[in-house]
């Protein structure tokens, strides 16, 4: 059995939902990413406290006609890609959000 994985949105990003998609910009290099409808569901549920498997079963499979096995596999690929770009944090433990919000510099 696989260990639980937890996902949390990075604080080093800017994001907005527009229609059924989400635009996410990396603060590290200003690269813009567009998440589709299903990815948006996972993105919005990535609170660091809910295991990815639970997000998939309770959010994705509840809204879309897809089996939990396929959805989880796709979700794992997605979160790993987003983590590679620094947009998401991944952990096998719940992720505590940072106590300080990003500093206002100017």
């Amino acid at each position: 059995m696989n260990a639980q994985r937890y996902v949390s949105r990075s604080t080093a990003i800017a994001a907005r939902v527009l229609g059924d998609q989400t635009m996410v910009m990396s603060a590290a290099n200003s690269t813009l990413f567009t998440l589709d409808e299903v990815a948006t569901v996972i993105w919005e549920a990535a609170d660091g406290a809910t295991p990815l498997e639970e997000i998939v079963t309770k959010k994705v499979c509840a809204q879309y006609d897809i089996t939990p096995e396929v959805a989880l596999k796709d979700a794992e690929i997605l979160v790993e890609q987003l983590a590679e770009h620094g947009l998401l944090l991944l952990s096998d433990q719940p992720i505590v959000p940072p106590s300080n919000s990003p500093q206002v510099n100017s």
Binding site: T11, A12, R16, L18, G19, A27, S30, P102, Q103, S106
Partner: protein, 271 residues
């Protein structure tokens, strides 16, 4: 007791872009004269400046503007560095320091960065776009290098006032957004007129067989803008501000796709 005082004469000039006067001081009066010529049309009163920068000229060397630019926030200061300049700016004291080569275009880069940081506080931004005012309204033509920004500027009719052929200055004002002239130019090598006007439309440029304007959805508009907005600083708060500004802009100003031949008749579509 009489004595001899050695005084270093420090010349200065105030460059005012977008209503933000920045005083530039340097002990090389010839360089200040060079800047006065470079920024003609944007020289403000020496009595009034919101920000002060001391410029130290480096000896000519192997400095290159091709090196990667770094803009970071550290201990209350913005640090800006490239091969041909090193600058720091403390927003709380409104003072900064620039070490650069004698090339005034190094200063151009520093000013662009400082203005992006200042504009972000106000909800504005700099964007790769040419812009011109016609009949009291500003039109922006945005795209990457080679998209046709300078071509659109070059083909502008005589009654259009050119604001820039390279970097447009966008600032929120009166529930909308205004385009402001800048001295930042591209291939046209012509300083823009120091004017401002409400933005009528932003056109994302594409070349094609006919001149035509097409609507685009909000997501494509935001993507198009964000792809051309200048992001110098790798700082989450700065990126969020500019990101939010792009969304707000799209909610207030039309963004369309302009395909053009190129042919001066394309300007007939800007009515």
């Amino acid at each position: 007791m009489p004595g001899v005082m050695a005084a270093v004469e420090r010349s200065s000039v105030v460059v005012e872009i977008g209503g933000l006067p920045i005083r530039l001081r340097c002990n090389d009066s010839a360089f200040i004269r060079l800047l006065t010529e470079r920024y003609a049309g944007y020289i403000g009163s020496n009595d009034e400046a919101d920000f002060d920068f001391e410029i130290e000229l480096a000896r000519p060397g192997a400095a290159s503007s091709d090196e990667d630019l770094s803009v970071t926030w550290d201990s209350g200061r913005w640090l800006m560095e490239r091969g041909d300049f090193r600058a720091e700016w403390n927003p709380s004291t409104a003072r900064g320091r620039i070490e650069q080569t004698i090339n005034p275009y190094s200063l151009d880069s520093v000013l662009r960065i400082v203005h992006t940081l200042l504009l972000a506080r106000k909800g504005g931004f700099l964007i790769h776009a040419s812009s011109a005012i016609r009949n009291g309204r500003a039109f922006l033509f945005s795209g990457i290098s080679g998209a046709g920004k300078t071509t659109m500027a070059r083909m502008a009719p005589p009654d259009a006032a050119l604001l820039t052929d390279e970097i447009s200055y966008v600032i929120p004002q009166d529930e909308g957004y205004f385009a402001v002239g800048t001295p930042f130019f591209g291939e046209l090598a012509r300083v823009g007129e120091n004017l401002r006007a409400p933005i009528e439309c932003v056109y994302l440029l594409a070349k094609g067989p006919v001149n035509k304007i097409e609507p685009i959805d909000a997501a494509d508009a935001v993507r198009g803008l964000l792809g051309n907005i200048l992001f110098f600083a790798r700082d989450p708060e700065f990126v969020k501000r500019v990101f939010d500004a792009a969304f707000d802009f799209v909610s207030r100003v039309p963004v369309r796709r302009l395909t053009f031949v190129p042919d001066a008749r394309v300007w007939e579509l800007m009515i």
